[in-house]
Amino acid sequence: MESVKRKVVRERKRETAISLGIVIIVIIGLLGYYHGPSHMLSPSQGSSASSKSNMATVLLAGTYPVLGSSSAPVTIVEFGDFQCTTCGAWFHSQEPQLLQGLVKAGRAKLVWRDFDYLGPDSIVASEAAYAAGEQGKFWEYYDLLYSNQGIINSGWASRQDLEQFASQLGLNMMEFNASLQSNKYLQLVTSNYNLGTSLGVTSAPTFFVIGPDGKTITIVGDQPYSVFQTAVDSLVSG
């Protein structure tokens, strides 16, 4: 009778251990799935030096807005969506420090690539920013969009609002409207999105910090300025 009781107790302990094991495996699996693609791009994953250079070449090919000195040794490529709230949070909390500590100091330059995954308003907002860029005001327009962010696809980035932002910046409205109506940047917006997905971008903001030798460090999410500082330091010091 006693041995039967012990057997039951042992059986129950085993069941509990198995159940807990399953819970832990599911949690680890979710973690891996959620951040899997970004890990593939991280230098710590052991990708070869040539593939890192290839990634840098792909990231820096074509046309894109740049903020900072062209001679800065490090390039930070931001994949963002003007409607994404996490991008907005990063813009408000971390970007001022990054601009002050790295871009204005000549240590890094910031490159914008849109990753418009949140719907039609995101695409129009990007097109409008590029249209402002024609008049040399891309970054000012970028600031205005992030500063006026509303609920996703609620109409805060309607054509009317976009025109109002352009007007606030004193842009030539005829030129701006003509550019926006022509949809001439739609292809760029689409190709940037495709570029992002091909590099494993699954959420915004995602940053690629590219060193002088093409070595790349991926930073996903609203990460603090200290992370960017450490990444730049490690890339510059080799």
């Binding site: 129950r12 997905t197 990460q223």
Partner: protein, 151 residues
């Protein structure tokens, strides 16, 4: 929580679940460097995350225990219901995966709309989850007392 094994099991679930939530909510980063960072605007979400993990841990372990030691059908049903409720409440942060799935399936669509809606009402969704877990905890407590009375 009378036996140490139940306590250990609860702590394990709370810690694992809490880490998962902090990771999903971008308070904890593991790449490129291990960083724990909570912006001032994220304090309310962090508090809800901690509450959710603690309640999920208690509900899951206690309900599993009740199902396993059930002497009658009613007790077992309550335990099963609690597990189901804990999973529903606990599954709420998985909406973060919706945008990822949206990208996999192409921009837009119903998945994207659900993701956007849940993202916009994150505080409300998490508060509702906490309330659901509190009700379940109360139900489990009452269930345990009823079982004791029967004995």
């Amino acid at each position: 929580m009378k036996t140490p094994s139940l306590l250990v099991a609860t702590i394990l679930v709370v810690v694992s679940y809490g880490l998962l939530l902090m990771f999903i909510d971008q308070f904890l980063f593991i790449a490129p460097y291990f960083v724990f960072y909570v912006p001032l605007t994220g304090l309310a979400i962090l508090a809800l995350d901690m509450l959710l993990s603690i309640l999920t841990g208690i509900v899951l372990v206690v309900s599993l225990q009740q199902v396993r030691s059930a002497r009658c059908k009613g007790t077992a049903y309550t335990g099963f219901f609690a597990i189901f409720a804990a999973l529903i409440a606990g599954a709420c942060p998985c909406y973060y995966l919706v945008p990822v799935l949206t990208i996999a399936a192409g921009v837009g669509g119903a998945l994207g709309a659900i993701g956007i809606l849940l993202n916009a009402y994150e505080l409300e969704v998490k508060t509702a989850s906490v309330v659901l877990l509190l009700i379940v905890t109360w139900g489990l407590e009452r269930n345990a007392r009823m079982t004791c009375r029967l004995k």
